[in-house]
Symmetry: C2
Subunit: 393 residues, 2 copies
Amino acid sequence: MNGFEFQCGTKMIFGKDKELCVGEELKKYGASRVLLVYGGSSIKKNGLYDKVIHALKEAGLFFEELPGVVPNPRVSLVRKGVEICREKDIDFLLAVGGGSVIDTCKAMSFGVYYEGDVWDLISGKTRPGEKRIPVADILTLPAAGSEESDSCVISDETIPMKTGFGSPLMRPVFSIMNPELTFTLPPYQTACGCMDIMAHAMERYFTRTPNVEMTDRVTEGILATVIHNLPKALENPRDYDARAEIMLCGTWAQNDMTGCGRQQDWFNHGLEHQISGFYDIAHGAGLAISFPAWMEFLSDKQECIPKLAQMAVRVWKVEMNFENPRETAKEGIKRLRSLIKESGLPLTLSEAGIGTEKFEMIADLMTNKGTHTCGSFYPMNKGDILTLLQMMA
Amino acid sequence: MNGFEFQCGTKMIFGKDKELCVGEELKKYGASRVLLVYGGSSIKKNGLYDKVIHALKEAGLFFEELPGVVPNPRVSLVRKGVEICREKDIDFLLAVGGGSVIDTCKAMSFGVYYEGDVWDLISGKTRPGEKRIPVADILTLPAAGSEESDSCVISDETIPMKTGFGSPLMRPVFSIMNPELTFTLPPYQTACGCMDIMAHAMERYFTRTPNVEMTDRVTEGILATVIHNLPKALENPRDYDARAEIMLCGTWAQNDMTGCGRQQDWFNHGLEHQISGFYDIAHGAGLAISFPAWMEFLSDKQECIPKLAQMAVRVWKVEMNFENPRETAKEGIKRLRSLIKESGLPLTLSEAGIGTEKFEMIADLMTNKGTHTCGSFYPMNKGDILTLLQMMA
């Protein structure tokens, strides 16, 4: 186990009807002028919007609204939010939505105190300072884990480029998590969210750091719980307990508790960011295509087989083939593919309507034209990435 | 899963040599006048004391010292600490030790701002206020989990009575956890600590709340990790990785992450508090005697068998006996007893030199003379407790 620092002070307020307390909770944290940030019409359709407005008014809080956050959230809206915060003297950001909405608020929260263009912070040109407007959220989509994480991902649609930044001060101060708010999620979004959660677990699981037993076991627990509850949530979208388990997993998979003391990989997220920079594909769908293919690619590498087999046995309940651990690893990957398929997610780029035309460019971007490698569990060079992309085709 | 709130903002600073940064870390948190609290001579023998003093001086911090904390820490020392804090205008408490030292600091931290006697807070006569002196620690004994927990346990040796109180503000602001500092722990203390960690996991695991899959799995992971690493640490006290796993488990077993969304039991801690009120027995040793006996007692109760069998299968790797789940449960208990025995801990009260003379009094105290029950997984009445005590004899 490596040395590490870990701190996550986000207050998790979990359970039925908890969104009703949002006004009072904001006041406890000293809010007086709130910017309410959300996406499109879904929170208006399901009644959440009205509840939030009522709670803010009841608490006597001043508030402005900023709707319009889209998946792969855009820097243009972040810039707009920064202006509103300055003009209206906003002292608290309330995100109502999923990772895109929360990430938009996170970027804004530091952008307000930065004199230059907020893209400097997002792209890493400038490091974030110590000042930020606090962020809280009402979570409606278990997926990104942004409700407790210390980072955000924003796209500049004009370049195009999708990238992110982080700070220990970026974690939301509180997060309201009511599983009932996810009852109306369409099956495809539910499945994409679960794939994102599993990916966050696996990006940390696949490590070369030895002796990480406790964090491995928590990660295996997250994966097993998602695998068990995703089919239930798809079968019955109003299954409170399945939705609750998935919601809790989403947070714990990404608050970095399971990343403590280990090198993490993140090759698949890097690849997905490139792909979704060029194509309009849901983050979870991109990960559903890349992760099993990447694992398949690694199942031919002797040094990767033990961990792949461990996951197969402990998470996918494959019986260990002691004579041929590679077969065990491959059976685990097969079961992951089955879950993805049964959940209605794509397994190939062509299923997602994506061709081969950008493969060379993607591989170049990820390796700085073949001069670098990507990932740490198995450092992928340009040739590896091209092979993998063909496997994903 | 029940609704819940969870917040744990303690910063975990984990790894080799991390204690060397304690002065700088205290300054980051605004400390200027520190009270250094510790137990006896062990931190002087192993060099930790000198390192801490050096770090405090290097950082230019004023500090006073309060040694003399004993296991089952005493309110008399808490009172003395409160006086020192007031006289010397202390603004930060630094605990160097295990749960007893940290708990002493926690009680002091609220006592300073309470006008009456601190025992009012400890015994629950008065609720703690919103003001407290911040506490940080350098952990030397993985056991109580006080390094992230929101509660403390203090004894009044004159009554005698052992009780505790808590507050969301009671969690330490940071905790320095260097597994190397536990290399010199004697085998008996190592085993007692691990038993305490397992007990914290099990007090939450045994619940009647249905649908608590994710938290069950984390708890099972904690138990499996301790079971795997305790024999290694006993075999080779300088096994860094085994010590590191145990240290991490100790924190996660008691920061209440695994208690989220469920009713908890705590019968065994209640029983142990009574026993150690009358007899001089290490907390972990008391739990080693009571827990397997309690589980044995419950293995005759139809409604308790499924959870006992789940633990046996998932934690102790017992093969499920589908025809007779009770046998599965009993095999799990047998394996717990084997671990306890092999670790050098007692399995009966007589092994610990404790007779039967106080049984009636203990059962009376726990049930208010037979009018109440204790615990929630299986509410234990006075007769149950007497039966259990006979099983423990």
